[in-house]
Subunit: 386 residues, 2 copies
Amino acid sequence: MSVTAPQGFRASGVVAGIRTGAGPDLALVVNDGPRHAAAGVFTRNQVKAAPVLWSEQVLATGKLRAVVLNAGNANACTGPEGFQTAHATAEKAAELLGCGAIEVAVCSTGLIGSQLPRENVLDGVAAAHAALGADAAAGLAAATAVMTTDTVAKEAAHTDVAGWSIGGFTKGAGMIAPSMATMLTVIATDAVLDAPALDAALRPAVRVSFDRLDIDGCMSTNDTVLLLASGASGVVPDAEAFGAAVTDLCKDLARQMQADAEGVTKRITINVTGAADEDDAVTVARTVARDSLVKTALFGSDPNWGRIAAAVGYSDAAVDPDRIDVTINGVLLCQGGVAAGDRSAADLKGADVLVEIALGLGDGAAEILTTDLSHGYVEENSAYSS
Amino acid sequence: MSVTAPQGFRASGVVAGIRTGAGPDLALVVNDGPRHAAAGVFTRNQVKAAPVLWSEQVLATGKLRAVVLNAGNANACTGPEGFQTAHATAEKAAELLGCGAIEVAVCSTGLIGSQLPRENVLDGVAAAHAALGADAAAGLAAATAVMTTDTVAKEAAHTDVAGWSIGGFTKGAGMIAPSMATMLTVIATDAVLDAPALDAALRPAVRVSFDRLDIDGCMSTNDTVLLLASGASGVVPDAEAFGAAVTDLCKDLARQMQADAEGVTKRITINVTGAADEDDAVTVARTVARDSLVKTALFGSDPNWGRIAAAVGYSDAAVDPDRIDVTINGVLLCQGGVAAGDRSAADLKGADVLVEIALGLGDGAAEILTTDLSHGYVEENSAYSS
């Protein structure tokens, strides 16, 4: 179950002929209310795709009736014509739903720099409107239509004992970096919450989930995470419980993205403790997660802690070279900055690798999820224009 | 001709049994004077190898009689024992040359985290001392002994019409990043110059040469560039001419490193103009140079300017998305942030790729040299522990 798990939501996914090849490529998510509160988090890239520029305006109202998403074309670097296409897409959905265009967000993902075929999109919106459903299959259809190099649809849902539900889907399998990715995420809830409450739950959740997933250090022009609340359950949730549910859901979706990242053979967790503060812990973990020499060593199942120590050293965080401990899959390999134990004791043959780095300076801790740098990554990103 | 091109220098390269497999792995460069002025630039990595910690102390005196270099082991993350090995190495050379240990710098490159076999190194220093020569073959022997994954020795030399000469060698083929690389460079001159004059020539030269070479964003624990002056020509050079010669030599060596980088199939130059200032230009060029999606696209000979625009956008520099122009191999593909011209007109089949990015904001300009991200890079760095 995904975005249709909560009451008050319908979804669909259809073939609009935007992407190369067959397959669905346009999704619609509709909030049937009675409430239409919403919050959003967008890419920090200075080059923002047209749908991001449009949807940022929409979300400024704190109200959202529907979301149109497409795969196959990012509608980025497309100038005024691209913005008009995003606007026309929202107008088309609004006309069908009997609301204003300013109540419809638009998300795109795919190739940067070519115009989105407007007529295909508008026809696709009409087809998606006709195909709307409130069951699990409808949610899955929407989650499937936004896939690019993803190999599986990514959904999650949770029903709280207090009587409200939350569910959503995400896409993204590469170009995933600080402040999200080529990722589009739509999360729905039937809890009774206003826009500021949704925003207060969503921002910290994104910060410790999607923002801590760093596949290749590349930040997209299109990243969007939306949270919509219908209020259809009639239940006002406990703020803390709701925040925890949003965070858990985002972390679940982020782990699914990590597992499906382009060319991945290892799911790597970089866990940093003992940093001066949390920011420093994130900086160290992210630097190690992005280091090409670390990523290729782990692809080769080589517990090369020296490359990890070198990456810790060139991070912008405060570190004491004589206090660095590095543990890989439970085996302490570097203690106080020098070799400890037997490298061959660290078994990296499995798909999961846990790198623990203790800095011995303070209480700052953070975890970054990443993957190895494999032949598959090179193949996928050199053979395929995206 | 290389480090032995100027008068007053001898060099050698011998087999010391440090690296796995056969081949020379220890080099010695001696300045026979009459002067012994020197300057050095070292890695900014907070995790510094023992030879860097030692040599930084040596260079603080502004005087250098000799340099011992080894390949096969970085002597990094080796604690007090590693530092004692670096010190003992300098003492051994000093004893043979009749000078103080504080006049001998030590450089190492290779695997991080294992102790350098001290006896092999000390025996190697004795053998290298016995093998010293002042001809081109001796310089080449030294340049060859420091190679790791390098496939060719890298040398350059220049004789000035004013009567002084300069020459040097470098090694480094990966882990090359901001503030240099796993690179060791020794440059010699017979000009009459004191340590502050050498320092004043070397720092700006490194800043626009080795610091502008960014293969994989990884900064080494061992990077060292040394400049030694014997004064043997008896000529005091024009400061500007000498500075230009050092810069040209460093740029020549940096281009040789780019051409020999691990797994390289494309030599890529990222040229940024129109930035608010030079720092911003470097930031943009470096961000694009490091972007895995850009590097894999160029490996695939795909002029994917959209990925370049996205990387420009997430750099920390000031950019206006509506003013970005991107030209690849002379073909304008993006103008004012949107598609311009025909992608297929940009021919990327050759080994050289020039990416020109114009930001339209100011006069800041900079160039970064990099390479593509290929199967060869992944293969070399996953199959080989370094």
